[in-house]
């Protein structure tokens, strides 16, 4: 499959051109935000970083302080679905270019991606060493009062492979697979097992 190069920040037009199933190589500036930051932003808290066009990454990295700077040793995605109550609001208020995490998101986010021109990028959960290898710099850190895993880390990445699993056309691979597997589950529940 052809790889598309993608640079963060990205425009809504770039996001709208992406389709579920597209593989991208992401470079540029990304910002981590997980549970506490999402709750904070969705309840009206100001973002210390202008998020317009940026990739918001659901991740709580392992970090080591080195003098005045930081090093990220492991930085895989966390389960995105926990941010479902907040994400649509964050997208509508801050206009990020993409949301990145694992496991996909629900209906409210799917609608917000469509209306605002944004996509959901999927990374392999647990592939923390591999992903950390594509982080070339820690540029800034904000909201450290939420604890290191939950702070907003501004990271520079290069050639990070990701998969578009929810696009701005309203398609979600997660939705499709959940529905297909539900049909199979129904059949399995109706077929008794004999021990």
């Amino acid at each position: 499959m052809a790889l598309t190069s993608l640079t963060s920040p990205l425009s809504p037009e770039t996001a709208r051109a992406l389709r579920t199933g597209d593989q991208v190589l992401l470079s540029g500036r990304i910002v981590t935000a997980r549970d506490q930051v999402h709750k904070y932003l969705a309840s009206g808290g100001g973002s210390p970083v202008d998020l317009r066009g940026l990739v918001i990454y659901h991740c709580g990295p392992v970090t080591v302080r080195q003098g005045d700077t930081w090093r990220v040793t492991a930085a895989g995605p966390t389960t995105s679905m926990r941010e479902e109550p907040y994400e649509a609001r964050v997208i509508q208020t801050h206009h990020p270019g993409a949301i990145m995490g694992k496991g996909g998101m629900g209906e409210a986010t799917r609608a917000a991606l469509q209306s605002e021109g944004c996509v959901y990028l999927h990374l392999t959960g647990g592939a923390a060493s591999f992903i950390a290898g594509r982080i070339i710099a820690v540029e800034e850190v904000h909201l450290l009062e939420f604890g290191r895993p939950e702070a907003m880390w501004v990271l520079k990445v290069e050639d990070l492979p990701a998969l578009v699993t929810m696009d701005a056309q309203g398609r979600s691979l997660h939705h499709d697979i959940e529905h297909a597997s539900q049909e199979i589950l129904k059949r399995l529940l109706n077929t008794p097992f004999s021990s």
Partner: protein, 293 residues
């Protein structure tokens, strides 16, 4: 007599290895799974990334997953003062590994919302001491938050699933748990399952069964058959690695049973992500590692 310095060194090495090295049986299962997924599929690419990342972690001694989880420590030892020394070594080892960036700061005070910063807090770490006549052994498992969130417990009978109080009812609950988890627990996963017990013991026993190797056959032929059925059927759901489709949803299922109250029939499912972090050691009388179990 256990020596404190030896103990700290042994326990730290145990926890560091558990956190950075994918167990060989899990690695073998992932490698076999890779061969079953189609060339060019998302499932195959995902498994390749997983194996590549696990290799990087092993070679460079960095955490397998950035979510270094919550530790569960099981100690089997002859009751005595060594228990205090082991507890001290575990707490100090956790602090040191957090300081070194091997463990993430994963303990948050739920009342104040503050991260304690060193993986130590109220009721954390959980250290379970069991009496043993023979040599002391220590097992550690670090289980991540995503996999804890999709772990679940059912009370049978369950009308929605049509699950009665029998092994077929157990099968139905477990398949539902695998379906509900989708890719959110980082599939392909391993399910630790406890049939029976109470609300508390069910979760602990289900989690403890995850210490069992994947290539270890269940000594009960009935439960072994149930494990096979669960894995085969879950893999036919099409959820696949990370929930992106494919034929590898589970790497294994480990079933244990526990006596139940006549009124209760619980089925508890503890989901382990593919990045299973577990290791066990046996100590010598000075507290040094005699062997890895």
């Amino acid at each position: 007599m256990m020596n404190e310095i030896h103990l700290l060194s042994s326990v730290t090495e145990l926890m560091e290895k558990a956190c950075t090295m994918l167990p060989d049986d899990v690695h073998a299962a992932l490698s076999r799974a890779l061969e079953t997924e189609q060339e060019g599929s998302i499932a195959r690419d995902t498994l390749k990334t997983i194996l590549q990342s696990a290799r990087l972690s092993r070679e460079r001694g960095i955490p397998l997953c950035q979510d270094t989880g919550v530790p569960l420590i099981i100690v089997r030892t002859f009751p005595g003062p060594a228990m205090f020394a082991i507890e001290t070594a575990v707490v100090e080892g956790l602090r040191q590994l957090t300081e070194r960036g091997i463990l993430r700061q994963n303990c948050v005070d739920p009342v104040t919302g503050r991260n304690t910063g060193d993986n130590i807090g109220e009721h954390v770490p959980q250290i379970h001491f069991l009496p043993a006549r023979e040599a002391t052994s220590i097992g550690v498992m670090f289980k991540g938050g995503g996999s804890e969130n999709v772990s679940t417990q059912y009370a049978l009978p369950h009308t929605g699933l049509g699950a009665d109080r029998d092994l077929d009812g157990v099968r139905k609950c477990v398949l539902d748990a695998a379906f509900q988890a989708q890719g959110k627990g980082c599939s392909p996963g391993i399910l630790g399952i406890c049939i029976g017990g109470d609300r508390a013991s069910g979760y602990l026993i289900a989690k403890e069964t995850l210490f069992r190797r994947l290539d270890e056959r269940n000594p009960s032929p009935v439960l072994a058959k149930l494990e096979d059925a669960i894995v085969g059927q879950a893999n036919s759901l099409g959820i696949g690695p990370m929930g992106l489709g494919g034929s590898t949803t589970l790497l294994g299922a480990r079933v244990a049973s526990a006596g139940r109250h006549p009124a209760c029939y619980f089925v508890t499912v503890s989901y382990s992500c593919w990045a299973t972090r577990r290791a066990r050691i046996e100590l010598d009388e000075k507290g040094r590692i005699r062997r890895w179990l």
